[in-house]
Amino acid sequence: MPNQLTVTVNGAEVIVPSGATVAVAVVLAGQACRMSVTGEPRGPLCGMGICFECRVEIDGNRHVRSCQTVCAQGMDICTEK
């Protein structure tokens, strides 16, 4: 298993350690996971799938909890607007 892999966050390539969660990839990309209903940037809070603040779109699937999803090579991640 390679030590690192590459994913894209909003089109930009990000290198993450293998086994990293998508939430980590988004933070490493310097992006907020989503914008709140009043337009505030939000990032991960609970880290365990409870709070839904880290939800993003992964390979076309919307509202996926990024903290409970492990990165795969080439994964296409889009933060929620």
Binding site: V24, S36, R42, C46, I50
Partner: protein, 448 residues
């Protein structure tokens, strides 16, 4: 409709793959019954035994023998023959003794004779100005992120809130290269001193405490201290704390803030188990008020990993009919539960924390409901109906415990699905309830 092949049957089905769930699954499976263990995370371990990204797997051996409790239980679980189902989240019980679970590749029906609920706990979050800024996380939340691959070396992390988790997280982060300028514990020195004295009954906790003390040598731990606000433009830049009566601003990259733990009782509640004071009520054999449904670990009381392992073993043995064996663990459990009571007493929240939110401070993060729109309501239900507080995707898991503390509101009853589910999954539920209605209808009309 779903085909029969997608339905799996278990004598004992365990929900939750942390210490309690693993112990239950091991003990039930070693008794010779067919066991399944379900977890919504990509791998087992729960929060406390969460493995590090790219690190050794839990059951990896060192010198031929597993060398940690987590590794020992993981190895025993593997040998027990229990079927492990990860990445599956239970959303509802569409019919008697059948749970519907959703995963990335669709849904599955899990049929059981006996059910063990080991749903663990989550951190309690309290709102304060700036707590919604990115990089303000739970204490356990940040630890989970670091275990999930977030680089923390050289980062400045203020750790704040209450409970033993703060020290464990601070020690973990420091070991991974973080700088910890301050740990703010809201409990008083006197209650921490009473806690320390009472620990003589639990020598292993003293050993753990001394290890933490060594790991945190040189780190400032302040009691009677709490966070007042987080500041930053798009992301966190500094934390303002009330530190022994003085207000201090500390620049930091992360604020790790959690106020002890809240049992996850949503699924037990959905299944009809009696919940009292936020805890699932169980009998001596860990059986809930619903026959055939057992509960173990944090949902019954916040006692930590030792209690979870003992309760898990009792639930696993009892659910597999090994009641005599289960009885041998009762004395150990009593002692573990006394420790849980000590935790509750020591880390109860001070009333000053109720005045942290300003009128514009967000309380419900899903729906962006500010404090000013909530405080005039008299109940959680009224606030939900009028403001949408608690009606977003977290279903009140974050703002529910917060408003319970802030306004003394009681939580509402739970409705399915217990987690937001995809339309395909909901369609299964709809089809099944329609079938049930048809059946009821034909019974009433005497059939077709």
């Amino acid at each position: 409709m779903m085909s029969r092949e997608q339905r799996q049957h278990f004598d004992v089905l365990v929900i939750g793959g942390g210490p309690a769930g693993q112990a239950a699954a091991v003990c039930a499976a070693e008794s010779g019954v067919r066991v399944g263990i379900v977890d919504d995370n990509p791998s087992l371990g729960g929060q406390i035994w969460r493995a590090e990204a790219g690190g050794p797997q839990l059951d990896q051996k060192s010198n031929g023998q597993p060398n940690t409790p987590a590794a020992k239980w993981a190895q025993r679980l593997r040998a027990s023959g229990a079927e492990v189902l990860c990445g599956l989240r239970v959303v509802d019980q569409p019919e008697e003794r059948v749970l519907l679970a959703e995963g990335s590749s669709g849904f599955r029906e899990l049929e059981y004779e006996k059910l063990v609920l080991a749903t663990g706990a989550r951190e309690r979050f309290l709102p304060f100005p700036g707590w919604t800024l990115p990089n303000v996380m739970g204490a356990g939340g940040l630890q989970a992120m670091v275990k999930g691959g977030l680089p923390i070396r050289g980062k400045r992390v203020v750790v704040a809130g209450t409970g033993p988790l703060l020290l464990a997280v601070a020690a973990y982060l420091r070991k991974h290269g973080a700088q910890i300028p301050l740990i703010c514990e809201q409990a008083s020195w006197s209650s921490l001193a009473r806690f320390g004295t009472a620990l003589v009954r639990w020598p292993n906790k003293i050993v753990q405490g001394l290890q933490l003390k060594r790991d945190l040598a040189g780190v400032q731990l302040a009691a009677n201290s709490w966070v007042l606000a987080a500041h930053g433009q798009a992301t966190l830049e500094s934390a303002v704390v009330c530190h022994a009566g003085k207000v201090e601003s500390i620049s930091c990259d992360y604020l790790a803030c959690g106020f002890h733990l809240i049992p996850n009782v949503e699924l037990p509640s959905l299944l009809g188990c009696t919940i009292s004071h936020g805890r699932v009520q169980v009998d001596d054999f860990q059986q809930t008020t619903v026959p055939f449904v057992y509960c173990a670990g944090e949902p019954t009381s916040i006692g930590g990993v030792e209690q979870a392992l003992i309760e898990g073993q009792i639930a696993g043995l009892a659910s597999a009919g090994q009641e005599t064996e289960a009885r041998t663990l009762f004395a150990k459990r009593k002692k573990a539960r006394d420790f849980a009571k000590l935790l509750d007493r020591t880390f109860c929240l001070r009333s000053e924390l109720r005045s942290l939110p300003l009128s514009e401070t967000t309380v419900c993060r899903c729906e962006d409901v500010p404090y000013s729109r909530l405080h005039q309501h008299t109940s959680w239900r009224a606030a939900k109906l009028q403001t949408r507080c608690g009606m977003g995707p977290c279903q009140g898991r974050v703002c529910g415990p917060a408003t319970q503390f802030l306004f003394k509101w009681n939580p509402d009853s739970i409705r399915p699905p217990v987690f937001p589910a995809r339309v395909e999954t909901l369609a299964v539920l709809a089809t099944q309830s329609a079938t049930q209605l048809d059946l009821q209808h034909s019974e009433v009309t005497g059939g077709q």
